[in-house]
Amino acid sequence: MSWIDIGPIDDVPVRGARLIKTQVGCVAVFRTAEAEVFATSDTCPHKNGPLSEGIVHDQKVTCPLHNWVFDLNTGVALGADEGQIATYPVRIEAGRILIDGDAIRQRSAA
């Protein structure tokens, strides 16, 4: 794994998200609690809604366009909808958010 520092945790609001641009497209970084973060593809598989603009609740996000709900742990759509978004390893260290650059590169190579 190669951890890349993408910024301070306080730049992401609690129960909110921010966007990062990567080679695999936009990735959403979610802060679900004071010290809990997730990273997934920003793009809803349904109609390409920007997930980083969705409402974050529990360890889930609701797409702002048509209310698909995704589990941020697995990326799997919940309830009636079927679909999955890519998830990326991410962690907090000394108040900074780190994302696994290998995971992103692997996906872009694939």
Binding site: G7, P13, K21, T22, G79
Partner: protein
């Protein structure tokens, strides 16, 4: 050579046969259509809205003259059929014979007239067709007393319509409770209470002995000798199949005209029958869904002989505004049957499910019928409900665990699931129509016919609109806020006030939320309730807001945003227009649109450009138009007496004043105002949430109008003489709405629930309460009356850019 088809009766069933027939094989038959009524096919089910004044005859015409013309159908309307000669294969009309190869009898039903003295007096009418409806409307114009005999569907709709038209109405019902064929006693009781609340007197176990009067009706006497005065008597005790022609023609007739599964007369294969005049396998038919099934079968039988009719369960809904009831299946008590009952007396909600073994066989609901069609589906499909038995009565939102969205049940339906039973429209067809641009209920109806007959599936269609279109369609029924809680919106509002809950965490904890921090449904609502009730203690939480309100711009389907600067009262200047034009060019705005709210919409702005375009607009003196918020949107004005020769007051000036006072405030749903300078009403103030019409003597203040999914004229809150009073009442109304309405209820929905009188008492009559409301509004506005764009530009601009850009690293 073309075969000759003669159809007797132009009702809804035969109308549907003709639709299918001429669609499938336009040239197969030369068709002659007889109708005793001097008109073609109209939606008889919608006569009640015509009676109550919500619709006109023109609204409910199904087939107009052009329709018949285009299909080459010879219409003989207003002409009675005298007889059928089956040997010669000829139908005898009043104005001459018509030979047939195939004959379709669709004579419908006749109202049952109870054989009492006085039944033929003028002023005694039945309720069956447009002429009856018009007769009632005519009678109601003079006011007076009406007695409706019969407390079934038809009788109650007649009673509600007459009451709506100002008559003093009494309903007489023979049985112990209303609508006993569709409702059980408890639901019948709630229905009675609701009807009585709107001024209708209900007498059960009331048997009519005679109708009194000499040259016209004067009263009704009951078996117990009670005498009721009456200027109008409506007999709505039931219908029976109209079979006289068939009997005379020697066809096999029991209670109705006997047919086989191909809808062919049992006595003559060249004669078909369809609709309410039919008896099949011992069944008679009065509701529209089976009639439409029959129509399909008749059409295909007439062409190639395939298709056969199957009797299905049907669901019932009463078309009386404000009385929400639903029943389906079999709900009689019996051995081996078990009930699940849910009651909430204070909200007037009653639900009962009847279960036999592991199947749901019946459902009765009153007050909250949102889940009716889901239950109906379980009944029809014979679904095994054993696993969901414990939570079954709470509806589809509670099945399958997780934080299920109330809409997920609709979302979960397969595309071939039937939504509209009357017209056989499946989900896929409706979704396709919506995606094709049918953006509201009316458009979906026009395109697909879904919910265009009995309206039972209206809720489902609305949910489909919501699922498909996203934001903006919330069901009005009293149901839990979402899967996170069992409490309703009303409960949550009340508890936030009474328990002084001042944070979201307090709400989740004290009110026992089932999820750690809510979901996308409850969070925006709770956030609103808190900021409306505790403006100083609670801070608005952007993370509990839908993206539009968090980013102060409307997200578009491609992820770009729209930007609408405020134009106070619809007024602008060359400088503002120049600044807007400059911004549009500078940020490559692809679409510039003039909105219905008198301002300019810049569509297609990229998310990261928002702070910059706002800064430019701010620099030209403009602020956010809140075109994205559940809050004050616009105050539309006309130019008033400054320019217009008809203007009576300074409508533009008042509009600007109101907008400057109200802007920035959050409300349960969006609020739009209009101020017109005279009753010509160029600002369309009478369909706004709040609309002021200036007159010579002052200002007419209307509230609770609508011009969206529903269209509704405002109701008069008050007439006032001074501009200041007009402003005060507007503010007080806004604040009362803010303090009490359910999240996502527009004012018209809220006023319908609490009643205009309740609003008037507080806003108009009680001066102390009015003053309190204005003060509370001002307090809240001390926080919220400011430009969010300027604030975001100054403090949050960096949030609009990506947190990091890793594509640059890769390039290294």
């Amino acid at each position: 050579m073309k075969q000759k088809l003669v159809v007797i009766g132009a009702g809804m069933a035969s109308g549907r046969v003709l639709e299918h027939l001429t669609d499938m094989a336009p040239d197969a038959y030369e068709i002659t259509l007889f109708n005793a009524e001097p008109r073609g096919n109209y939606n008889r089910i919608m006569l009640s809205p015509v009676l109550s004044g919500e619709k006109t005859y023109e609204d409910i015409v199904t087939h107009d003259d052009d329709w018949y013309d285009e299909r080459g159908i010879t219409c003989r309307f207003g002409e009675h059929v005298i007889g059928i000669d089956r040997e010669m294969k000829v139908v005898e009309g009043q104005n001459g014979h018509v030979p047939y190869d195939k004959l379709l009898i669709a004579t419908g039903s006749a109202p049952f007239i109870i054989p009492v003295q006085g039944k033929d007096l003028p002023g005694v009418i039945t309720y069956r067709d447009l002429d009856d409806t018009n007769a009632m409307i005519g009678a109601a114009a003079n006011g007076g007393k009406a007695v409706v005999i019969g407390g079934g569907l038809l009788g109650l709709e007649a009673a509600a319509g007459l009451s709506e038209r100002g008559m003093d109405v009494t309903v007489l019902h023979l049985m112990g409770h209303l609508m006993e064929r569709q409702l059980d006693e408890a639901a019948g009781y709630l229905l009675r209470k609701d009807l009585e609340k709107r001024g209708i007197t209900v007498m059960t176990r009331a048997s009519t002995a005679a109708i009194l009067g000499s040259d016209r009706v004067e009263g009704v006497m009951l078996e117990d000798k009670t005498v009721l005065d009456a200027d109008l008597v409506v007999m709505a005790v039931g219908i029976r199949p109209e079979t006289r022609l068939a009997t005379d023609a020697g066809l096999e007739v029991g209670r109705g005209i006997g047919v086989n599964a191909q809808m062919q007369s049992l006595a003559d294969p060249d004669v078909y029958a369809v609709g309410e005049c039919v008896e099949y396998d011992g069944h008679l038919f009065g509701l529209v869904a089976p009639l439409y099934d029959q129509a399909k079968v008749v059409a295909s039988s007439l062409l190639d002989g395939t298709g056969s009719f199957v009797v299905r369960d049907v669901a019932t809904k009463l078309k009386v505004t404000g009385c929400d009831l639903f029943s389906a299946g079999d709900f009689a008590e019996g051995d081996g049957r078990e009930d699940i009952v849910f009651r909430d007396p204070s909200r007037g909600i009653y639900k009962r499910l009847v279960i036999e073994g592991t199947r749901l066989i019946g459902a009765v609901m009153y007050g909250d019928t949102a889940d009716g069609n889901w239950f109906f589906g379980l009944i029809k499909d014979g679904t095994d409900i054993e696993d969901m038995r414990e939570t079954l009565i709470f509806g589809p939102a509670y099945q399958g665990g997780g934080a299920a969205d109330p809409l997920s049940a609709v979302a979960a339906l397969p595309l071939d699931a039937e939504i509209c039973g009357c017209n056989g429209v499946c989900k896929g067809t409706i979704v396709e129509a919506i995606e094709d641009g049918a953006g509201d209920l009316g458009a979906v109806r026009a395109r697909t016919k879904a919910s265009a007959s009995c309206g039972t599936c209206t809720g489902l269609v609305e949910q489909l609109l919501q699922v498909t279109l996203g934001d903006g369609f919330q069901m009005p029924a009293a149901q839990p806020v979402c899967g996170c809680t069992d409490l309703t919106h009303e409960d949550v509002r009340r508890l936030i006030k009474s328990q002084e809950l001042k944070s979201q965490a307090a709400v989740w904890q004290e009110l026992g939320w089932k999820t750690p921090n809510g979901c996308h449904v409850c969070r925006p609502a709770v956030n609103y309730y808190l900021l409306a009730d505790w403006p100083l203690d609670y801070q608005d939480d952007p993370q509990s807001r839908f993206v539009n309100e968090r980013k102060h711009a409307n997200i578009q389907k491609d992820g770009t945003y729209s930007v609408v600067p405020r134009m106070w009262g619809g007024m602008t200047t060359p400088d503002e227009l120049r600044a807007i034009a400059d911004a549009a060019e500078k940020y490559n705005v692809p679409t510039v649109h003039v909105t219905g709210g008198q301002r300019i919409d810049l569509l297609g702005v990229k998310g990261e450009d928002l702070p910059a375009i706002w800064a430019d607009l701010n620099a030209a003196g403009m602020v956010s138009g809140h075109a994205y918020s559940k809050g004050l949107r616009t105050v539309k004005t006309c130019v008033g007496k400054d320019h217009c020769r008809f203007g009576t007051q300074d409508s533009t000036g008042l509009g600007i004043k109101l907008e400057k006072i109200l802007w920035g405030s959050w409300t349960p749903h969006k609020v739009k105002l209009g101020v017109s300078g005279c009753p010509r009403n160029c600002a369309e103030a009478t369909c706004k949430d709040i609309g002021v019409v200036c007159v010579d003597s002052g200002y007419q203040i209307g509230v609770a109008g609508a011009a969206g999914m529903d269209v509704k004229e405002t109701e008069r809150l008050a007439d006032v003489a001074s501009e200041q009073e007009a402003i005060d009442l507007t503010i007080a109304f806004m604040q009362l709405f803010r303090e009490n309405a359910k999240y996502l209820d527009r004012p018209y929905k809220w006023v319908a629930k609490v009643g205009l009188d309740w609003v008037k008492e507080r806003v108009v009559d009680d001066l102390a309460e009015r003053a309190r409301l204005i003060e509370a509004f001002e307090l809240s506005q001390s926080i919220y009356r400011k430009d969010p764009w300027a604030e975001h530009v100054a403090e949050k601009a960096s949030r609009y850019a990506p947190l990091a850009d890793l594509t640059l690293e890769a390039a290294e």
